[in-house]
């Protein structure tokens, strides 16, 4: 999922203050935490209260889309709803914001969130953590399902560096060393021989930036 956080309200308020009729669009896609109809509503209410205390009356219309980053879906769902909106406020990640900007080229589209990374959710610890770097050359089959590219700050491909101490990364005593995790899981699975192979340096071209659908 794409991990996002809400922008401070005064920043968002600054974006929309010149406008009155605003379409607030949630995203029901991979955004985490989910920012669907509820957040569209809550955000509108908060901005309405903030506007009133500044003598400004907004007219918000709230809606949501399955995936904002799909231009076809976004256009199909939102164009009939756009009405006389003067601006669009997006509750998606940066992808959704940019897609809406493409769908409504004549309108300003504002992000209500900051976008961070591709992360996974750990419910018990209540955290979202980066787990995939989108390197284009997935190694997880040989690293026990733990990605050293995303989880080792150095992105090492052939084992731990010399900085690991007490199974932790030299960057922070709270951060597990990805290679220790990999070693432990492979050991448990009796697959330590997977570590014997040598992996050449990453081909950064594989990350890519455009793929035909």
């Amino acid at each position: 999922m794409i991990v996002t956080t809400l922008k401070p309200l005064d920043e968002v308020l600054g974006f929309i203050l010149p406008y009155s009729d605003i379409l607030v669009v949630g995203c029901d896609g991979c955004n985490q935490p989910p920012r669907g109809l509820r957040e569209a509503s809550t955000l509108s209410q908060l901005l309405d209260l903030a506007g009133k205390s500044r003598g400004k009356v907004f007219n918000f219309k709230m809606t949501t889309v399955g995936k904002q980053c799909d231009d076809y879906m976004a256009a199909s769902v939102l164009k009939p709803q756009i009405g006389n909106a003067e601006a669009v406020l997006s509750l998606a990640c940066g992808l959704g914001v940019q897609t809406l900007a493409k769908v409504f080229p004549e309108l300003p589209v504002f992000p209500a969130q900051n976008t961070h990374f591709m992360g996974a959710e750990d419910r018990d610890d209540g955290i979202l953590e980066m787990r995939c770097a989108g390197c284009g050359d997935c190694l997880l089959a040989v690293t026990g399902g733990i990605c050293p590219v995303a989880r080792c700050p150095k992105g090492l491909l052939n084992g731990a560096c010399g900085g690991a101490k007490d199974d932790k990364c030299e960057l922070s005593p709270e951060k597990d060393c990805a290679w220790v995790l990999i070693y432990n899981i492979l050991k448990r699975q009796g697959k330590l021989d997977l570590l014997k192979g040598y992996r050449p340096p990453r081909d950064y071209q594989l990350t890519g930036w455009k793929i035909p659908t």
């Binding site: 935490p33 989910p34 509820r38 509503s41 809550t42 209410q45 209260l49 903030a50 419910r123």
Partner: protein, 727 residues
Amino acid sequence: MSELVPQEDSARVEEVSRGAEGKVYLAPCQIACPLGEDIQRSHAMLALLPLDPEEAARQIIKIGDEIYEKNPLFPVCSYICGLCERQCNYRDETGAVRRRMLVRLVADRYLKYLDTAPTLPTPDKEKVAVIGSGPGGLMCAYELSKRGYRVTILERSRELGGALRLIPRYRIPRGVIDSVISSLLRIAHIEVRLGAEIGGVGKRLDDIKKEGYQAIFLATGTPVGRLLTIDGKPVDNVDLEGVTFGLNLLYEVNQGIASPRFYRSKKVIVVGGGNVAFDVARTARRLGGEVTLVCLENEDRSSRNGIPADEDEVEGATQEGIRVVYSRGVVEIIGESGKFRKIKCPRCTSVFDEDGGFNPRFDHDDVVYLDGDVLLVTIGQEQDRTVYEQEGLLGEGGKLEVDEITLMSNLKEGVFIGGDVRRIGFAAEAMWDGLNAAESIDRYIRGENLTAGRKKEYQDAPVLSNAYYKPQPPLVWVPAEERLNFEPFEEAFTLEQVVEEARRCLCCGPCKSCKGCVAAGLQPVLPGITYDEELCINCGDCAYYCPCDAISFRSPHGVSFDMTLCRGCGLCAAVCPAMAIELENWERARISGAITEAVSEMKRPGILVFLCQWTVLPHLDKKINPNVGIIDVPCAARVEGIHILEALQQGFGGILIIACPEEDCHRQTGSREAQRSIEALDNRLSQIGLQDRVGFCTVTPRHQEEFDRELERFNRKIESIGSKESR
């Protein structure tokens, strides 16, 4: 909020089954209660007792009515039972919920009302005879009368009650038993014949049938004491002066035959390790005796050879100065000129053999002699077999031939047998036999199949995974030196203690089998869940946050709600980012409507309070608080940010969410989750200069003064914000 009209029977308990086998799903306490009392329901109703004393008194009678309907002897049970407490999910944590003490308060209030309680409709169906008037016989008679049969109880002695009459009065006042029995006879129109001898020189069962009785329930108990034996042979010298059965003592004391100082400066030896032996020892102690109790079993009750008496009994007896001699048997009773003098007691090395059979082994090299003036043998009780032999009810080996399920004799049609005579157990178990026999007799007389659908399988409901365990309140006893008389020494709980203790109940069973909140008037009907699958975005938040594990994922899409587990807090509806879930009766639109209504009712919108209903606080006096509106919610967790913001948009100066303290939260995590979400909202409001407009606080249920204090504090805060703004 717009009023919901209670539906007919919306408070009626429903049976819930789970799993492929369709086992009945219930709290373990309720599975343990032979009479199927709706334990959780009465606990919920007590926890939700209104603050107004008159309303509370009415509610207590209502609770009593409900318990009475299932168990007309419940005031007695509130002194002597506690089978449910043994199975309480709380038991191994901080100690069982003290159901017995909760019911005691209900019983004490109910007994006064019982004398004038309305009777059942006059029965007009066939006649049934019940022989024996112990708990089993009484229960059977009551149940049959409820079903319209005309019942006659035949009792050999001069008063009703059977083994109940052997319970020492320091454990239960005589008046309670008298009152319960006399009311039962009146309410259920039961005819009684005292001094009715059956078998021997008395009537035969055929004579009774000839009188028009269509069925007979034999519940004659175990009135005969068991003799001491060694290697299968009776121990000699039981006819010495001073040797008797403990049962005889209990009977004589309760009949007022034994004088208060009967055993003054006498050395009394009681033989036996069960609860009855302790009743005898403690009774003897109260008659002035210097008492020693000898038992085969050892002190370690967790071991196979451990003492069977309840821990409380042993502790109480020890406090009262009774000496307990463990692991000793009696192999010889020694007298002197016809009077009891001493017993010979070798050390008992094991009580039961490998197969669990009673087969005591002794070390005859380790022997002590215990001197005494009186020997009270209390090592168990037996049936009086005369009538069973005479009527041909015994099979091979002299055992009663009774069907386990129907309780009908396998050897004689229309004759049913139950209670201690069938299997020695607790009073409630004998009552269960009575109930069961009544069901069979009803079917028998109507010519129906006796066994169809009788056997039920149960599944224990566990505690919620987030359970918060509060300490168990101690039982308070009058100090030992002041209680050596026949006055009850266990102090009753006050009303406040009862409510507090009832709140400790975790309500493990399904809501549908309880509905205590509905019966208490908290809500008109148990709310259901409405789920719009099309809106669902599969985020899983509802399933994760549900405190009751009632929501599970459906593959490949969506969630399902297990309404046997749902407790109707509405947290799922409040967290759903897609607003795909609604809690019935507390739908978003209804709450919005309530906010609008609250605004319109106030001259100058001030404060809106979302109040958890489980705090059991009455509505505010509008004259005192003209600027406060209150919206009841089933749990603070139901409150959504959008409602709080809506109230602010409509002009309320501040919104206060009042929850129960975490340890009191009926849904365990509801209070905590409400606080978390409100703090997050407050943080966002502070970003736009509206900090401190939303407050969260907890109020101990039924503590009006805490509520007033919190409201006052919040009011001051909002007023100071208002005056700052106007400046």
